[in-house]
Symmetry: C2
Subunit: 219 residues, 2 copies
DNA sequence: TAGATTGTTAATCGATTAACAATC
DNA sequence: TAGATTGTTAATCGATTAACAATC
């Protein structure tokens, strides 16, 4: 009944594997060993083998891994063999930037609709997709098969909007609002807190500078 | 000589602490115990105390933590007491979205310049900041005190540009390009790979749906 | 067959949680 | 002083790395 649950640490590494394998594939490389891949990606060969073996054997003893096959398998694991229709809530700079990003389309993520509280924006288009007023959200969700909602609105409205999304069957939220969403079990939230990321960078640079100050003092 | 190195797991949690403490502060709450904070943030009280104690004692036995003090201390640890001048390389949708994001300014991150390969864009402005051609990058870095470069360009050019940045003294790169940058020791890179994040979301929703299918079969 | 390299088990390392003595 | 809650040590858990037998 209970399948071995894969840890998020492993899942988090899959997209990077996919990227390297895609590049190898484009270079026409057919096979690769965990050793070679480990040198390329700067991780241990042991980790690579462990990671892949979470999903069953993708390789062959004495040979290594077939690049094309592995590439497809990891894509499949990540759900890239399916289509994911998404909408964007919030037609500000970030929302429009994400709507315009065509590479998502190539991975099966299809941009279907955009919403904004500002009535001035209603009717305008982003890459052929109409911006709709928030009042039309529920109806749109009922009429369309939407898998993912992208939240690019200020944190003040985010929790309320997330509730409306969940109530109308959205099961995945890509959250760029700077707030924690509290959703029922079974609804997936992936947070992208840009300012948190920037603060981490700030910490690491500040720390490095301080270390150097100390080193030069003691020298 | 060697200070206890703080793990990135801890650093990664600091911005979230800062956010909750800021909200508590704005609500006028003066003190909080690790127990109360743990309920609010849905982490263990033990982890909170361990995390804070990496940086020395911020609390007081029998009392808890002073919200205002703790908020400032964590901000200081993250380097938010300093100014960080930054430039953005790549004036596409994402670059402009980040340039327009005024909240960074409030944290001490000052938007100083923007560059793009497209000569058509040269001279235009994003929030009062001039877009410059890439040829002017080196001169600009020499004339200005730039701490952070934000890379919002396609992966094809990213590695080359990162090299130029590092050569001219940039010590921190906020990398939105979908490629791993190989920088010398001492240069900090913080990656924001949006498509990786989206794939994780895709995995987790696909997986959840499959689990439910299985459950309903066995039921 | 011999060599290469996986799949997998065992050992190690690090991070999280629990427990409690110190102390405000 | 008694009660509360931290700071910190010890126990547990999970993730990473090492080792090697299985096998192509």
């Amino acid at each position: 009944m209970e399948e071995k649950e894969i840890s998020q640490a492993v899942i988090g590494r899959l997209p990077r594997y996919l990227r390297y394998l895609g590049e190898l594939k484009d270079e026409g490389i057919e096979r690769i060993s965990s050793q070679e891949l480990s040198e390329l990606m700067k991780v241990t060969a042991s980790q690579i083998r462990q990671d892949f073996n979470n999903f069953g054997g993708f390789g062959q003893q004495g040979y290594g891994y077939n690049v094309e096959y592995l590439y497809h398998e990891i894509g499949r694991i990540l759900g890239l063999d399916r289509r994911h229709n998404f909408i964007i809530i919030g037609a500000g700079n970030l929302g429009r930037a994400l709507g315009n990003y065509i590479n998502f389309e190539r991975r099966g993520f299809i941009f279907k609709g955009m919403f904004d509280t500002n009535p001035q924006l209603a009717g305008r288009e982003v890459r052929g997709v109409r911006i709709m007023p928030m009042e039309e959200l529920e109806q749109f969700l009922q009429d369309n098969d939407i898998d993912i909602a992208v939240l690019t609105i200020p944190k003040t409205g985010a929790v309320e909007v997330a509730g409306r999304l969940v109530k109308n069957g959205v099961r995945a939220i890509w959250n760029f609002a700077h707030v924690d969403l509290n959703v029922p079990e079974g609804v997936q939230v992936e947070n992208v807190h840009l300012s948190d990321s920037l603060m981490k960078l700030s910490y690491n640079t500040s720390r490095y500078m301080k270390e150097n100050e100390r080193d030069s003092e003691t020298a």
